[in-house]
């Protein structure tokens, strides 16, 4: 039976919980590298945050970046950044210019590129507005996290909320770290994307935890918490992969179309952050949030007792028979209990009817 078939049928037996130290080490390393990158390399903030003037033109005549730079430098606007964007586009970024200077630069660029000055996309930002957008977003974020923590504590349990938030932190730091390492520009689109990642990461974690909670309710303390985590993870693995794939498909299409076909920069910036975020969001809910929760719960008196009891009976395995759900769970569990809680091999059970 191939891995694919196992995956497809939810029959995989990956030991997510048992290998937790490995995942924690990996996550820890990623977070450390990201933090270092953030401290030493810094984020490249776009004009919306740092203030400045940005002029964007189509470049249908294919004028080279060097020529544009020469014109920009010649106009005496001080330090500037000239970039090719998308397929056919030129972006010039300078310190904030006065309206007059800006108009002058726009018309000289229009002359050079053979474009209509009215076709320019321009933006002039004082240094404070971007800060306000970010500030409001951060405030919204904090309130959001609080509300979600309360909701998850009520709907699931507070340790789940804690583990979900840790996973979330991991995703945010990692995404920011990639931006710092690669030197992508941070724009308002990035802020939005990060907020999405946040929602997505939580969403994914909630689905996983919901399954864990359900399994705990159904099988109670016939297994160690770690075993239940493992079982739940393997059950939802296919869903996680499917969902991530299905989410990544439109985002990937956005990324591809946005950056290579049409040169819509906002779309590209957005898609990039999302792509990274969704990928890490899936990773963190499987490899970080769930094992963390398992570890945390295993320290509870109740689950320590369960583990001791099962260990005395020699059945405290990291796996539980995970295919038995629904109406048959009770009888199946009884069978399992009678047979010393030995996990049934999935193949056997399949032909069981």
């Amino acid at each position: 039976m191939s891995l694919w078939r196992d995956l497809y049928h939810g029959d995989t037996r990956f030991d997510f919980f048992g290998l937790r130290r490995r995942w924690f080490a990996a996550s820890g390393m990623i977070v450390a590298v990201s933090l270092l990158a953030l401290v030493f390399l810094r984020l490249d903030l776009g004009v919306d945050f740092s203030g400045g003037t940005l002029i964007e033109f189509g470049n249908t005549n294919g004028v080279s970046v060097a020529e544009v730079r020469a014109v920009v430098d010649g106009s005496g606007v001080g330090s500037s950044k000239v970039q090719q964007v998308g397929g056919t586009g030129i972006r010039v970024q300078t310190a904030q210019l006065s309206l007059v200077d800006e108009d002058r630069l726009v018309s000289s660029l229009a002359d050079l590129l053979g474009e209509d000055p009215a076709d320019a996309t321009r933006q002039s930002v004082g240094p404070t507005f971007g800060g306000q957008v970010t500030e409001s977003a951060v405030r919204a974020l904090i309130v959001f996290l609080l509300v979600i923590a309360v909701y998850m504590s009520w709907r699931l349990e507070w340790k789940m909320a804690g583990a979900a938030l840790v996973a979330l932190g991991n995703d945010l730091i990692f995404t920011a770290g990639i931006y710092a390492v690669v030197g992508f520009e941070v724009t308002p689109a990035t802020v939005i994307a990060i907020l999405t990642i946040l929602g997505y990461s939580l969403y994914d974690t909630v689905v996983v935890f919901d399954k864990i909670q359900e399994n705990v309710q159904e099988r109670g303390d016939r297994h160690t918490y770690g075993a239940i985590v493992n079982m739940s993870m393997n059950q939802v693995l296919m869903r996680s992969i499917n969902t991530s794939l299905v989410t990544l498909l439109p985002i990937g299409s956005l990324l591809f179309v946005g950056s290579y076909l049409l040169g819509a920069t906002t779309l590209r910036e957005f898609a990039l952050a999302l792509f990274i975020g969704v990928a890490t969001g899936t990773y963190s809910s499987i490899f970080l949030a769930a094992p963390l929760l398992g570890m945390w719960k295993e320290r509870e008196d109740h689950w320590i007792k369960v583990r001791h009891r099962l260990e005395r009976r020699g059945v405290a395995e990291e796996f539980a028979p995970h295919e038995l759900v629904g109406a048959h769970a009770e009888t199946a569990a009884a069978v399992v209990a009678a047979s010393g809680a030995a996990p049934r091999p999935p193949k056997n059970r399949k032909r069981r009817r």
Binding site: H9, G10, A118, D119, T121, R122, Q123, S124, V125, G126, T128, F129, Q132, V133, S136, A137, R139, A140, F144, V147, I148, Y151, R155, L156, P188, A189, V191, L195, T196, G199, Y200, Y203, V206, V207, D210, M238, R239, T243, V246, T247, P250, G252, S253, L254, F256, V257, L262, G263, A264, T266, L267, F270, L274, V278, V325, G326, A327, H328, A329, R353
Partner: protein, 554 residues
């Protein structure tokens, strides 16, 4: 879910959703596109910290009126965001300078004592402020005075028949050899714009102040466009708009035995403003009744709106004290509109806020439409990929998913069209991104449900019972997960500003649509499908997707 119930629910959902879509298409309602998708002009203005929110709202109101005066703007969007930021979006505007002027300049309201009134309509009093030379050339002065006087009579005659706008100009040109500025004494600090161009300077042609400076004397006129055009020489501003708390037009009845009632405007000053007003009216009351200097001019943006004189019974010792005052206009019907206009000017004319333009952005229409095209292509491409993946995974169930996504898409289209038409909500690029993300969330609801079906079937349930049972289980998960998305979207919508808001709204609507589709489409559709041949037979069926052989074959 019974077969009948499922069938009715499914049909009703499809009819309602696609019916609404057809309705929007027939009425030509499409989502309103944001600035970044259709091009236009946007300014973000920032008021100083600690500005009163009411004041911001007033500022927005004035800007709206000014922008409407621009004429060529289709559906401007002006909103207060955060606690001290005003965002102005003008779709389709290409004239940057005019748009900036409309929103950027603050309307400055001033109360200035009148020093002199020009006897000649349209002639700036500055030209009468002529030094009388001692060297015997009195004739020159008289000729000047004579010329202007005769010219004035002609102007006023001409004024009744033709335009009076260039009144000042014609006056001066009727006596070509005489320079109207000859011998004119300018008040301290006031210059001629053609000699020293500085704030408060006088226009070389009209002799009026172009931009008033509160601390300087000014030569101002009532609005030329409305005919009239009485010109005043005024002192420095004594009371500013920010000293005024409110103004209200009222009809005062004839309680005191007068024959008719009168329209009045009641002014309400701040504590400081009241003191200033009392001081200035006390000074003015020192002039004899009938003296033009008993008047004070109410000036908005350099135009005299009204110049009431201080009532005869006001004591020169105290002035008009008590923090409020009444301007009496008269009893006739046209005084009613005059009173309400004046109160509006007094109330809203002044922005005691100096806005700073913190972001000015213009997006070319080409780029806007290109972004829209990219967004659409990406969206459709993404949907297609999702459809292919879902059919590969879930076979017949995948087909339901594809139809479900089109139901979802139609619903979003309808909602955004309706919101655009009724609420003026625009769909921005960030919103499009939100929708694309929502496609992922919607697809996930299917995945959760379908994986559940697989599990239940593996657990040994019959297909029909598995489908039902899986839904009750899956909807729990979907609800929990959607609540998280929903809460996030709501909070972002209310707390965040700028493009984040548009994103949040799209996500919010999409999450609700997701639940709607799951309950009213997916559930009955899958329930029905489970009872057909596509449910239980062959590799393409639901059972085929679960990887278990058909019940019959066992």
């Amino acid at each position: 879910m019974s077969r009948r119930g499922a069938f009715i629910t499914l049909t009703a959902t499809l009819v309602i959703v696609f019916g609404l879509l057809a309705l929007t298409q027939l009425t030509g309602t499409t989502p309103r596109l944001g600035l970044d998708l259709q091009g236009g002009f946007s300014v973000v203005l920032e008021a100083p910290a600690g500005t009163d929110p009411d004041v911001l709202d007033q500022a927005v109101e004035i800007m709206r009126r000014r922008i409407e005066a621009l004429g060529d703007v289709q559906e401007p969007e002006i909103s207060v965001v955060g606690d001290r930021t005003v965002e102005v979006q003008l779709p389709g505007v290409t004239d940057r300078e005019r748009a900036l002027a409309a929103v950027g300049t603050t309307g400055q309201l001033e109360f200035r004592p009148v020093l002199a009134v020009s006897p000649i309509p349209g002639l700036s009093p500055v030209f009468l402020n002529v030094e009388v030379p001692d060297d015997g050339s009195t004739t020159t002065t008289t000729t000047v005075a004579g010329a202007t006087t005769t010219a004035a009579t002609t102007t006023s005659v001409a004024g009744t028949t033709s335009t009076t706008e260039a009144g000042g100009t014609t006056t001066t040109t009727t006596a070509p050899p005489v320079d109207p500025w000859e011998g004119v004494i300018l008040p301290e600090g006031v210059t001629r714009c053609d000699i020293v161009d500085q704030p408060g300077c006088l226009d070389p042609v009209s002799g009026l102040t172009r931009v008033t400076v509160p601390g300087l004397e000014a030569f101002l006129a009532t609005d030329f466009a409305t005919g009239g055009g009485i010109a005043y020489h005024t002192g420095p501003a004594r009371v500013l708009g920010s000293d005024l708390k409110g103004a209200q037009a009222q009809f005062q009845g004839s309680a005191t035995g007068a024959i008719t009632g009168q329209w009045i405007v009641v002014l309400d000053f701040t504590e400081e403003g009241g003191a200033k007003f009392a001081a200035v009216t006390a000074e003015l009351a020192g002039f004899a009744p009938g003296d033009p200097r008993r008047q004070f001019a109410i000036v908005l943006d350099g135009t005299v709106q009204s110049a009431p004189s201080v009532a005869n019974d006001v004591s020169p010792e105290t002035g008009i004290s008590g923090g409020s005052a009444v301007i009496t206009l008269g009893g006739s019907d046209d005084q009613e509109s005059a009173a309400s206009n004046l109160s509006v000017v007094l109330r809203y004319g002044s922005l005691p806020v100096a806005f700073e333009q913190s972001s000015v952005e213009s997006i070319s229409a080409t780029l806007g439409s290109e972004s829209l095209r990219a967004g659409l292509i990406a969206g459709l491409g993404g949907l297609l990929l999702v459809a292919v993946a879902m059919i590969l995974y879930y076979r017949a169930l995948g087909l339901i998913n594809v139809i479900g996504l089109s139901v979802f898409g139609s619903l979003m289209m309808v909602i955004f069209s309706a919101l655009g038409a009724w609420q003026g909500v625009t769909l921005t690029l960030a919103g499009v991104a939100g929708v694309i993300v929502a496609v992922g969330i919607t697809a996930d609801s299917y995945v959760v449900y379908y994986e559940r079906i697989k599990e239940e079937v593996h657990g040994g349930r019959s297909l029909r019972s598995a489908v039902d049972h899986a839904f009750t289980r899956a909807i729990r998960t979907i609800l929990t997960a959607d609540t998280v998305s929903f809460a996030g979207a709501v909070l972002l919508f209310f707390l965040a500003i700028g493009s984040v808001k548009g994103f949040a709204l799209a996500l919010l609507i999409a999450t609700m649509c997701d639940l709607f589709v799951a309950v009213f489409f997916t559930r009955p559709a899958v329930a029905l499908l489970a009872q057909t041949r596509l449910g239980d037979g062959g590799r393409f069926s639901i059972r085929g997707a679960t990887g278990l052989p058909t019940e019959g074959k066992q």
